[in-house]
Symmetry: C2
DNA sequence: GCTTTAAATGACATCGATTGCGTAAATAAA
DNA sequence: TTTATTTACGCAATCGATGTCATTTAAAGC
């Protein structure tokens, strides 16, 4: 079952012209007489001629298409970021194609290569939680495929990056908890090797330090799959709750972890209401929970927009860009009931 | 800024062979001597040669890539369906590219055409809420681009379709409400022209009829944007609540409407706890709401899998398929607190 | 030693579109 | 009328890979 479509050759044959003439007529070249142009244009319209973008990509070595790779659509941060990216891309005449890595390194490599070799003009990516080897991206970067990182950025590749101030987000959230009077604040973080995990962890630590609260390593848990596997979150929580000195508040280090931990904490608190919690989350439903959830919210849409703008800047730049910058957005702390004393 | 990559020509030049020989050596043709093969393979590996898929698409007129168009990623039904589609596609050696229509007809047309002309081998689509003209799809279907519809299907195009039993889902939900003792059951439905809206509405009506409850037209509201615009949901609800004879239960006809109506109803019920509600929803968070939400849940992942399987069947079929079928899945009613009497 | 035959490789067209260059015919200038 | 200049178009190469159809080479057969 194949999909057939009219070509320049069809027009040329029908009108007894050469392919070149038809091509030029369609592109309104000054070399072609008005009558010929009219003939060509009319017939092209009649048979609904559309230039074959595959052929154009092959010839021009660009596709006006931008590839986006995110871990998961179901994470609201990413779907919002994608919406921001699309809004800019469309306004500048680019199409986007989007894939999910499902937090899998292997899938990410396949998706990235598929896109690169399918001639995307550039790549926007937030790496999977499993990714701690960046050769697949370095290789493309070395070959000068324009790449912009957002959110889960890769430090060691020199290009534009767009992030949230993860340090500050975690710092502010932790400070909020401290000010509310919580003393034993636990942190369920994502995979250790991720740059944003480190930054958030730093923010958490620094807030404790600044308020003269000792850091207790047993209160820091990592979810190697970023919360994608429910059981790892359950384990983190149950091990926290089985400590002699239980935490009185929990800070979650990622969207997925936040939503995964809620049922466990809700169940626990239904029995003995004791633990406050908050986390990074861009869900639109956090107000509907009981208690309503205090969150660190990132301007995902704006981050997406900024990343796409930077990428198009690279793509359309005539000369190699040398002074890449990292754009940082502020997250906002939204206080609700889940962190009430 | 361009992305350069090794070609067959590079290998041929370096090894002093012709392009054809190199091509055949790479594809392990019997015509090529082992030494030559070894030489070519080694050098290809050394310079990290990868065949250019654009060139291949041009030549072979297929891309091993499947296009998916959904209204919105943030709707869990769709992100789950996409996951199902990906699982099948990857296992059969296809890649997928995904776009959102954002419930916009214009965007849908652009996305569909972009994909078709970029040589996707087939298309999986659930149409936008705005789409009531299907020419863009008919055109491609007539040109024999394999298309499979899922969820929001297009009746008038003859191909495989995969849906949920929307009639039964709404019928069962309404029956549940009736059995719980509710008498004035309102229905907030999506855009009227959508086939699934009609089916769900029919199910709602039939359940009332079968239980000898008169249908009150003022209890049926339509959201022309499918709940994408918060205000339309608010208006539907406030007009329901301002009726002399207020509804005692509300059935929502779509994921987006369900989540959008929750804050309004929650606020209302906080004042005077009176209205029960449930709706179609594939959200994973419905247990966290207070009251926990009774839902009609669709097997989105399985629907996605089935749709992808059908599509690949069309793509790989040697002869045109004439007897297209519509596959129907059962949804499940999950009863929680929001429909307690 | 000459012919047959198989093995190994190259030349070239193809997919669809663009583009530099060449050229015939028409027009203008000398 | 002759030469110069437009005008309007066609030829052919190109992009990367495949595949058909030669062609070369060498070994085998008589």
């Amino acid at each position: 079952m194949k999909f057939e479509s009219a070509t320049i050759k069809d027009i040329a044959l029908k009108l007894n012209l050469s392919k070149s003439t038809v091509s030029r007529a369609l592109r309104d070249s000054y070399e072609i007489s008005n009558e010929t142009k009219k003939l060509v244009l009319e017939y092209a319209k009649k048979i609904n001629y559309r230039p074959n973008p595959i052929a154009l990509s092959l010839k021009e070595r660009r596709s006006h298409t931008i590839g986006i790779v995110v871990p998961e659509f179901s994470n609201n941060f990413f779907s919002q970021a994608i919406n921001g990216m699309e809004s800019i891309a469309y306004s500048k005449g680019y199409n986007v194609i989007i894939t999910q890595s499902h937090e899998s390194y292997d899938r990410e490599v396949i998706n990235v290569e598929h896109m690169a070799y399918r001639s995307v003009d550039g790549l926007l990516i937030s790496v999977s939680v499993e990714t701690d080897n960046f050769d697949h991206l370095k290789k493309l970067h070395d070959r000068r495929l324009p790449i912009v990182f957002f959110d889960r950025i890769v430090e060691e590749i020199d290009t534009y990056k767009v992030v949230c101030d993860n340090f500050k987000g975690a710092y502010d959230a932790t400070s909020h908890l401290i000010k509310k009077g919580f003393k034993n604040i636990a942190h369920i973080a994502s995979a250790e090797h991720l740059f944003i995990t480190q930054k958030r962890l730093e923010g958490y630590r620094k807030a404790l330090e600044d308020h003269n609260i000792p850091i207790q390593p047993e209160l820091i848990k990592h979810c190697v799959h970023g919360g994608k596997i429910s059981s790892e979150v359950e384990e983190a929580i149950s091990s926290l709750l089985s400590l002699k000195k239980k935490p009185d508040a929990i800070l979650s280090g990622g969207d997925r972890i936040t939503t995964e931990m809620l049922p466990f904490l809700k169940k626990f608190n239904a029995l003995k209401n004791k633990i406050a919690y908050m986390g990074f989350s861009n869900s639109d439903l956090t107000d509907l929970f009981t208690p309503s959830l205090s969150v660190i919210r990132q301007p995902a849409f704006e981050i997406g927009q900024a990343a796409m703008e930077q990428l198009i800047k690279i793509i359309e730049s005539k000369r190699p860009i040398l002074d890449f910058t990292t754009q940082t957005f502020e997250s906002s702390i939204i206080i609700k009931e889940s962190t009430k004393k």
